[in-house]
């Protein structure tokens, strides 16, 4: 789950990061009013979960209430990614002497946290990683022990900071690791971390993603969920225990297991088709779940044919077959359907499908080839 900048700022500030004051506005008038509380100029920033706000025109400076209102009007009219801007953040503009990057992520290889820092802040860190990986400094941090003073200090000196700045940096780096652990993050990032004209460090942006598996024990963070992060269909799928992601193709897919669901999309593509979605019905898929899955798939007007691909392990293939038959009757929609079932209670499933007049394929490759043909 992604957290908005304004909420991430609050969390970072709680962990001692020097985040300058801000206000949030959802109209031009509110933005002008908020700006008047600060010294001019102010910066006005779109509050969206998508990246690339600056390039999309979602960040502007303003020198007067009129400019602030005009900038807010423009930004509130934007779509960034496919996301309409609903709110802006207003904060005093900082005179920037240097821009640094600081971020914490999971190091999957070392199986611990890694703090990444770069003297090249303010730009997309993945571009830096691609063009000049040596410009990114890394230090692993144990989630229980945190980051030692000396490790943070060493990193501060390596970034070219001096004296009091290094002491500030140690607090910031340790605070960011603490914040990460405190909220079960999967990414915590300050980009840029700036040195202002007076030589002080300030965190003028905040990015925070949360581990979805930990939201159950992070009720305060769950409250920060932006319901617009997911489409209505994805939200409905999540509530039904399905994993659904809409894509742009014409072949709807219903599969059990994430790996097989991805492979099914790939095999459709291999035979010349385009998948309309990723959909994992998970284990133990009953009639209700399968009906919801069908509804989600058929709500997409691009869908011209549907492939059901079930390899039953935990799931029973005959339960799935019964679900497919019941769902088809209930939906009464004439879209070509190709079913492939295998595994636990396969013979029973095939008998049920045959009785209902639904032909079934035994192999995934032949089923994919067939559904691609049907969707033409």
């Amino acid at each position: 789950m992604k957290v908005h900048e304004c909420d991430a700022r609050e969390i970072f500030r709680r962990h001692g990061l020097p985040v300058p004051d801000w206000r949030v506005a959802s109209t031009a008038d509110e933005a002008a009013q908020a700006a008047s509380a600060f010294e001019w100029p102010v910066v006005i920033k779109a509050q969206v979960l998508a990246g690339g706000r600056g390039k999309a025109g979602g960040v502007k400076l303003a020198d007067s209430p009129a400019e602030a209102a005009a900038a807010a009007t423009q930004i509130l009219g934007l779509n960034i990614g496919s996301e309409p801007v609903r709110r802006v953040l207003v904060a005093p503009a900082v005179d920037i002497a240097r821009e640094l990057y600081l971020g914490v992520v999971i190091d999957r290889t070392a199986q611990t946290l890694v703090l990444m820092a770069s003297a090249e802040g303010g730009v997309d860190i993945e571009d830096v990683a691609a063009t000049d990986p040596s410009a990114i400094l890394r230090v692993n941090a144990d989630p229980l022990a945190g980051l030692a003073d000396w490790e943070a200090r060493q990193l501060g000196f390596a970034l070219g900071l001096t004296g009091a700045q290094v002491r500030q940096f140690v607090g910031i780096a340790q605070g960011l690791v603490e914040a990460f652990v405190d909220v079960d993050a999967s990414l915590a990032e300050v980009n840029p971390l700036v040195v202002d004209d007076d030589g002080n460090l300030q965190a003028i942006d905040a990015k925070l993603n949360i581990d979805d598996n930990a939201l159950g024990r992070q009720p305060d963070i769950e409250q920060l969920r932006d319901p617009h992060e997911e489409s209505a269909a994805e939200r409905r799928a999540r509530a039904a225990g399905l994993s659904y992601i809409k894509l742009d193709g014409t072949i709807g897919c219903m599969v059990n297991g994430a790996g097989l669901a991805m492979a099914t999309m790939d095999v459709i593509k291999h035979y010349g088709g385009e998948p309309a979605n990723f959909l994992d019905v998970g284990g133990g898929a009953g009639v209700e779940k399968i009906t919801t899955a069908f509804e989600l798939i058929l709500e997409d007007p691009n869908v011209r044919a549907v492939l059901v691909n079930i390899f039953a392990g935990i799931t029973r293939a005959d339960d799935v077959a019964a679900g497919v038959i019941a769902a088809r009757e209930r939906l009464a929609q004439e879209v070509p359907l190709v079913v492939r079932v295998a595994g636990t209670r396969e013979a029973e499933a095939l008998a049920l499908l045959e009785e209902a007049g639904i032909g079934a394929e035994r192999s995934m490759d032949s089923a994919a080839a067939l559904v691609v043909e049907a969707a033409r």
Partner: protein
Amino acid sequence: MSILLDASTRLLVQGMTGSQGSFHSRLMREAGTQVVAGVTPGRAGASVAGLEDVPVVNTVAEAVEATNANAACIFVPAAFAADAILEDAAAGLDVIVCLTEGIPVLDMLRVMPRVRASGAHLIGPNCPGVTTPGDGVKVGVMPWAVHSPGHVGVVSRSGTLTYEVVQHLTDLGTGQTTTVGIGGDPIIGTRFIDVLSMFEADPVTHGVVLLGEIGGDDEERAATYIQERMTKPVTAFIAGKTAPPERRMGHAGAIVSGTSGSATAKESALRAAGVLVGETPEHAARLLVDRLR
């Protein structure tokens, strides 16, 4: 021979009194696994239908003391699964198979140093388990019927995709030594390289099918290992070529971030290491069968 499990495996099941735990414990025993104990805190003395002769105790330590169990299978909910792993590691078990999906990543980061220090092989979490058809041993939920004894090792980050490929191998008349589902989470106990090195050392295994997916760089690291150390043929399939970037595809670990973790990058790394990469899962199975002819 085989890897991880054999006829000497004595299994305890954490969560055997639950519906999934009892159902799959019965299936594991039907496959031939010696299921020697169930562990559910507070339910000592409970009886599980179809497994009435298997004692249920409160702690893993008691189960080991009473039955000499040397492996564990974990069927407990995500909030308690990390603790279950720690209990197994502390009891000195050799193999811990954790099926649970949804364990917070930070819990796994806290667990892993202690698992490594214990010397146990942790398989998973978020995995279908391990099956050794020749010895009649399965730990986990893989469908027994698709397996057949033979000389191919299978290692995979996915569950159902594993069954898919094992079925193809069996249909092609090629049996398996051991199939290992290592799990779809970003932090797992046993990774491709660990399993590949076991297959390389196992004299009965003649070749390996590796089933990877988007996210992380374990496939790339496996490619390096295969190139430098492996003498046995390896074929592969990588799921997720059509997956959009920055979206988590069901598995917590299956996400392409920027340029890292893409299926294309993994396929190129494996091809460069001499691995034959299938266009479909069936193709990957066929490629290995052809190589072994």
